[in-house]
Amino acid sequence: MYIIVIGGGRVGYYLTKALLEEGHEVLIIERNPSICNAIAEELGSICYRGDGCEAITLEQAGTARADMLVAVTGDDEDNLVACQVAKHRFNVPRTIARIRNPNNEVLFKKLGIDVTISSTNLILEHIQEEVPTHPLTHLLEIRSKGLQIVEVKIPASSSTIGKPVKELALPRGSVLSLIIRKARRPIVPTGNTVLEAEDQVIAVTDPASEGALRAALRGE
């Protein structure tokens, strides 16, 4: 794939290095000439000096044939504009933007940016995973369908232990996909599968049903 990376900071640099190792054709667009030179010395002539939000720069970088544009500068507004120019002027099929302010996720999505990555949210999700008492963890978002893949832990004190899945008051918007037991054996649950203490239940749910799903599984 031909991938254009906007911003040659730490994120852009390591991202490009990893993508090159995977065999992709990558071009970094960076405004600062000394950063450009440093990248060129380390990774070869794959850094183009210019403003990645300007249509002229993107045209010279061959954006029209790019499969993907990833904007990872430190400023949300620059990442937004780079992605919008790529999308609307050059029809780049996939645009990815790094965002600093997690509140911007909704706006970026509304404006057609395909993927947004918020380091704040990523760290938060990892903390949720690490904290054992956290009852519901977001594992993955299926953005195009507005669904979440979540994990619900069944504590030893839960009133649903010993009950079959069919007796749980599961919300309509949620489907149980997998149960992971202590012995790490994954089970595809049926109506007759009985919940055990310390089960990790993986479910697909719409965000509105999350609370009801958690309550049904844990007997809250």
Partner: protein
Amino acid sequence: MKVVIMGCGRVGGRLAGLLEANGHSVTVLDLDPYSFRRLPPGFKGTALVGNGIDQEALKKAGIEEADVFVALTQGDNRNVMAAQIAKHIFNVPRVMCRIYDPLRCDMYQTLGLEAISPTTIFAEILREKIEG
């Protein structure tokens, strides 16, 4: 009308004064409180320190009740982003923004933003004056 102006530079400060003189309710938002010196003496509108691409700051500036939002910071991308927040998140009836880069300005006009490029306008004025 209720008008929120983001960026209290020379244009923002002047526009705030003109609109207020005509009886409109004006709120000016800028990151730097020192910029408010550009507001006319006796300005009775609201001057607020805040980042116009932050939705919370925009709410504090009263964007939810605003009839008009104008983005006039020095950064094209900041203006573009703030204008799109005003238009698509807060549904402000009229949203305008300054974009220095003519190409970017054209693109956002086709995407439905009321964008103005002072570069294009000023160059055109100069050309007319030179050619007579």
